[in-house]
Subunit: 89 residues, 2 copies
DNA sequence: CATATAATTAGACAAGCATCAAAATGAAAG
DNA sequence: CTTTCATTTTGATGCTTGTCTAATTATATG
């Protein structure tokens, strides 16, 4: 499975905070960046990692890029955890 | 929450494989190490990271140390994912 | 076109991390 | 007590990563 990118993406606190931010709906890159005490370039990098892991998707509208949560990959993670709990299966 | 150590621990493929190995029951450090193409010292380091994250617990019996899965931390991760899916709550 | 705004990309750097070999700890057995 | 086995710890090394500044792309507007 392609868990590697996903877990790597989730291992950074800023990236998890971005996901938390997006759970209420899509936001622009600038809006997201304004919530963190780091440069827009750094946040853009984090968004790129999240996108590469399939955790978010982007939607360009004019000057803005809207980012949105992508649940399916998170479902796979949840499934993996459930598998650990299930025992030998 | 103290997710940071947990997600960092899960971000390495060897450590996830160790958890997969332990889902069927406790194993000694040597047994675990024998499943990987790396030195016992390296596997010991990974076990230490997993223990530090609360993902496994150890049980020393004589010459051997048995490691065992610890589900409660995984439950917290699953809960966090569920929270993302739930929306604004 | 020139300017302003939104966002990314490029390049550099320090901190962190996985790995190994070698040394050290701890427990059992001769 | 010395040896052996199981495991960890130490110290070193090269790769990865998060961050920044500066430069670049892309879109809208005067």
């Amino acid at each position: 499975m392609a868990f590697q990118k996903t877990f790597k993406a989730l291992s950074d606190p800023t990236r998890r905070a971005i996901l938390d931010l997006l759970k209420d709906g899509a936001r622009t890159a600038g809006d997201i960046a304004s919530h963190f005490d780091m440069t827009a370039a750094t946040v853009s990098h984090h968004l790129s990692v999240l996108r590469g892991a399939g955790l978010i998707s982007d939607d360009k509208r004019g000057k803005y890029i809207y980012y949105e949560l992508n649940m399916s990959v998170l479902d796979e993670i949840a499934g993996w955890i459930a598998g650990l709990k299930g025992g030998s299966g």
